[in-house]
């Protein structure tokens, strides 16, 4: 049996002492199948249980065949319908036939799907289905009007037709507070129905504020760690990383106990006479900021500390000795050198923050919930998987954009070799 991990005999000419770093040259040949055998099971497992479910969920954002499944004849009959005239009897008959034959579950899904675009559609469709099932001879447009007079409304037929396509832009547009107008143009939804742009902006703003706070807190901490003696560095690092190891829930519960109205902080402030009545510190934005900074600070401290370790102390001292002012030494000498670490830490913190769910849920108020909360809400409570998927797609897009930015950050050898 051959061994995948052993370099080819051809490599032995470049035999080097110590760990071989780069193994030049192709390593093909009969050994590849062992490599494949090692990677393949995990690869398949990841593709089936990780990549495929996410891809499928994201596809729900645009793929929505419920109406086509429940009402196939209607969809076919409406293909060449002129949207300005009342539907023909042929279309009406197709709908009646579909309603009679549709599977109950399919019809319910289709009704729900139609109801997203026009409220009241669900009740009307199910009522009409009941009516036409009851009377055998129901035929033509008039039969529909008898069942529910609103079938005279052409807007309803237009909704039916547009939802009849298996692919829809409806969910993605809704996730961005946009809608398709009857004339086909795309515009903003009226203010009272707009919801998600606020949520997206709130998510970004919250993450930005948390990142900036973390940055300002991490700076002195990293500086102190980087300039401490090695033994002390290890201890400080351990202390910074300690909360990292303690469950998110434990930390959230700690903040609830400390910050609630009759919590330790408020009690202490009251006793000291600084305040006369409890200050709301939790279940609002303040609480979310405190909780998230507490969780995310280590992600900021680590890369910045690594960057600072790689900067020789003499540089700043030299700047001072040549008469640079403190700000000038900071901005022109120190910051440019640690910039990769600062950028990496900030993006990492931001990216992780954007996807947070539990902390805002436990210590935030209604007005502090981020995108994740709404994805969960539309999956669990309101069972609108299309919208949940569209919001997930927005979240994924934000993440990918940020990671693209992350990939652009210049990385010097020094930042990682400093360890």
């Amino acid at each position: 049996m051959s061994d995948a991990a052993t370099p080819n005999p051809s490599d032995s000419s470049s035999l080097q002492l110590g760990p071989p770093k780069a193994r030049p040259g192709p390593r093909g040949g009969p050994k590849n199948w062992v490599t494949m055998g090692l990677v393949l099971p995990g690869l398949l497992f990841f593709l089936v249980m990780f990549v495929w479910p996410i891809a499928q969920m994201l596809s729900h954002a645009v793929y929505s065949p419920e109406v086509q499944i429940a009402l196939p004849r209607t969809v076919a009959a409406m293909a060449d319908w002129d949207v300005t005239t009342p539907p023909s009897d042929a279309i009406a008959d197709a709908l009646i036939l579909d309603l009679k034959n549709a599977d109950r579950g399919d019809l319910a899904s289709a009704a729900r799907r139609l109801n997203y675009e026009q409220s009241g559609f669900r009740a009307a469709l199910l009522k009409t289905a009941r009516e036409v099932r009851r009377s055998d001879g129901a035929k033509g447009y008039q039969a529909l009007l008898d069942a529910d007079k609103d079938w005279a409304d052409l807007a309803r037929w237009r909704v039916l037709r547009s939802a009849g396509s298996a692919y829809t832009s409806y969910y993605l547009l809704t996730a961005l507070d946009l809608e398709k107008r009857p004339d086909g143009s795309i515009g903003r939804v009226p203010g009272d129905r707009a919801l998600f742009v606020t949520v997206i902006l709130r998510t970004l703003w919250l993450s930005l504020v948390v990142t900036v706070i973390c940055l300002f807190l991490a700076f002195p901490v990293s500086y102190t760690i980087a300039s401490a003696k090695p033994g002390r560095q290890a201890l400080l690092m351990l202390l910074i990383l300690l909360p990292f190891w303690i469950s998110l829930l434990v930390r959230s519960s700690a903040w609830v106990i400390l910050l609630q109205d009759n919590g330790l902080v408020n009690t202490a402030l009251l006793k000291l006479g600084i305040i006369t009545e409890p200050v709301q510190l939790i279940f609002n934005r303040t609480g979310v900021y405190i909780g998230l900074v507490h969780v995310l600070l280590p992600f900021m401290v680590l890369p910045i500390t690594n960057a600072m370790r790689a900067v020789p102390k003499d540089y700043v001292r030299a700047a001072f000795s040549m008469g640079a002012s403190a700000p000038r030494a900071l901005f022109q000498v120190y910051l440019p050198q640690i910039w990769p670490g600062v950028a990496a830490g900030s993006l990492l913190t931001f990216v992780i923050c954007v996807g947070y769910y539990v902390t805002p849920l436990l210590i935030g108020g209604n007005q502090d919930q981020m995108l994740s909360y709404f994805i969960a809400f539309y999956t669990n409570q309101s069972v609108n998987w299309g919208l949940a998927s569209a919001l997930s797609a927005v979240l994924c897009a934000i993440m990918l954009l940020l990671m693209g930015l992350y990939a652009l950050v210049p990385r010097r050898g020094g930042t990682t070799a400093g360890r």
């Binding site: 061994d3 490599t35 300690l242 106990i257």
Partner: protein
């Protein structure tokens, strides 16, 4: 004049030292300050405590809903960590043997991707996927999801270990007549063991702490410790929540200590 020029840096250093102290207090004090409350004899989470007692730990270890949660967390944590270890170890050795290039980068990226994926996206996508697969409400589904979550830790840790591993050892073993499997088992694995163990523990702690995926995928019988804690925080904030939290802290910090111990031992062995 020269004196004055050195002064600014000292000032900054002192200031940053002070700020560091404040940040450390912010990071650690909240956790430390709630710990004694688990020993309170009262039912409220406030100071001063009426007295000391072990009643909340007793409740934790005797009340079915807590013991069941603890048991579920242990089963899910251990199974998913072992699964992650097997997948991750194989993948890391395989990736290390792949030739450098796009394929290798993509495979590596895929195995690390769960670290960067928002948990809510994994949770919702698996929720939809499992409902079609008939895996929803089953413990196996949670174990699979947590194994995916834990695999990156094993891959990263073992891969780093392999970078330091001297491949000439394998060749030496072969030249002395060892079979491929013998060389893996008796040469490579012992040296990789610390990396594997630390990856395994990371995977375990990740699963043990994870709540979002469990929230979405668990049936009523699979309540884990974090979920119980979550409900406790929202509904009945009594000291039993803190004693449960203490158990989680103990297990997490214990694992961290173990990782550190394994790391130190392997470093000591290398120097010897």
């Amino acid at each position: 004049m020269k004196y004055k020029q050195v002064n600014p840096m000292q000032k900054w250093q002192r200031l940053s030292g002070l700020l560091t102290l404040l940040v450390l207090i912010f990071l650690i004090l909240p956790i430390v300050i709630i710990m004694p409350l688990s020993l309170s004899s009262g039912s409220f989470l406030s100071y001063p405590m009426p007295g000391f007692s072990m009643r909340w730990y007793e409740e934790l270890l005797t009340n079915y809903k807590w013991t069941k949660a603890l048991q579920n967390s242990a089963i899910i944590g251990i199974s998913s960590a072992v699964l992650a270890m097997v997948i991750g170890l194989m993948a890391a050795i395989g990736i290390n043997a792949m030739k450098k290039g796009a394929a290798r980068a993509v495979v590596m990226g895929l195995f690390i991707a769960p670290l960067m994926t928002p948990l809510i996206i994994m949770a919702v996508s698996l929720f939809l996927f499992y409902s079609k697969l008939g895996l929803s409400g089953k413990m196996l589904g949670i174990i699979i999801a947590h194994a995916i979550l834990g695999t990156p830790f094993v891959v990263v840790s073992v891969f780093a270990g392999l970078q330091k591993f001297d491949m000439t050892l394998m060749r030496a073993a072969k030249s002395l007549g060892a079979s491929s499997w013998y060389a893996y088992r008796n040469v490579m694995f012992p040296i990789l063991k610390p990396a594997v163990v630390s990856g395994l523990l990371f995977a375990f702690v990740t699963s043990f702490d994870e709540i979002i995926i469990v929230l979405f995928l668990a049936g009523p019988d699979h309540i884990t410790l974090p979920i119980r804690l979550f409900e406790g925080i929202r509904d009945e904030l009594t000291p039993v929540v803190i004693s449960a939290a203490m158990v989680m802290v103990l297990i997490s910090v214990g694992s961290m200590g173990l990782i550190e111990w394994v790391r130190r031992r392997s470093e000591a062995a290398k120097e010897a």
